[in-house]
């Protein structure tokens, strides 16, 4: 059963205001250097390697992640409110799987 990413985008903002966006995603961020305690075999790496935030289709912020990012990746960053629209978020996993979420904002 899927664990949905959590996103926090203010519902409204004044034009020109700098708003805080937060995201939290459930993921083990398996580093690839841990061993299975019973079999001794290496557990293969599986992490979220990229995070993208777009507003009305244009990239605001993105990040390239490595295994040193903690499990259940968390981000907090800023965006300037200029017009109403939608924030789209993407988490890309090793292997290409993409998890998405989005949040709307009304800018007055």
């Amino acid at each position: 059963m899927a664990k949905k990413p959590r996103i926090k985008v203010p519902k409204t903002a004044k034009s020109g205001e700098t708003i805080l966006i937060k995201t939290l995603m459930s993921h083990k961020m398996e580093t690839g250097v841990r061993k299975n305690k019973k079999t001794g075999k290496l557990i293969p790496r599986k992490i979220i390697n990229k995070f993208v935030c777009k507003f009305n289709g244009k990239e605001v912020m993105s990040a390239d992640l490595h295994p040193a990012v903690a499990a259940n990746p968390y981000f907090a960053f800023y965006a300037k409110a200029t017009e109403s629209g939608t924030f789209d978020f993407e988490w890309i996993e090793d292997g290409g799987k993409i998890i998405t979420a989005s949040g709307n904002i009304v800018v007055t």
Binding site: M1, K3, K4, R6, K8, K22, L24, S26, K28, A70, A71, N72, Y74, A76
Partner: protein, 271 residues
Amino acid sequence: MNIIKNITRVTSLMGVATLILSYTTNVSHSESNPNPQGANKLKSGYHWATAPTRAMQDDDFSNPAFLWVDIGSEQWTLKDGEAGKSCASCHDGVEKMKGVATTYPKYNAEDGKLRAIQHQINNCRTQQMKAKPWKWESDNMLGMAALVKNQSKGMPINVKVTGEAQPFYNKGKKSYMLRRGGLDMSCKNCHMDYTDTRIRANILSNGLGNGFPTYRLKWQKIGSLHRRFRGCNKNVRATPFKSGSDVYTNLELFLTAHAMGMEVETPSVRN
């Protein structure tokens, strides 16, 4: 020869354990403890957590444990089992669970047993919903237990230890005081005798579990109190019991009773 080797090993381990525990440090906390103490003047693990860990717990959005509370919320309205019911079918909105967690573990006359909240959840699932029970440490059970307990966040713990609950409480107390394992230590040794002293770089808390299920930074996920008990048992080189066992449920009642009056903090963030 083997017996002598083992005795030597255990003795030296005990020696090391004594050395570690004898390193006493006075811990001063400049931040005041915002959580009211229990009736026994014992404190929540929050008191010993560092500022960034507390900040993680205090933000309901970025507290990673809420990723599991979200699972619980989803399951609350999901119909499951042959009876075609969901939790909401009988219990309405999850806010109706407010206050419930403050009384658990609780004696149930139906089967004459002491039940932790997880036992009650599975009882609902199997008897009322005619659905499969959830494993103790599964994402679903952790999520549901955290969700239900979260409804009582901020409320004082108020478990019953008299009457039918008394024999279970007594058994839990006995467990707590019993020395066990290769290190020959009891829960009491760390969590009563040596509270506020260091064990390696950690400081020993009262170990009361008022915030469980908790997001443990070490586990990098949420986990149950019984999982923590298993860890403690293994750490003193004792054979752990099963999660959901009578031993651990009785122990949970003893701990919770000791935290009487302390606030429910579920889901907390701990080391």
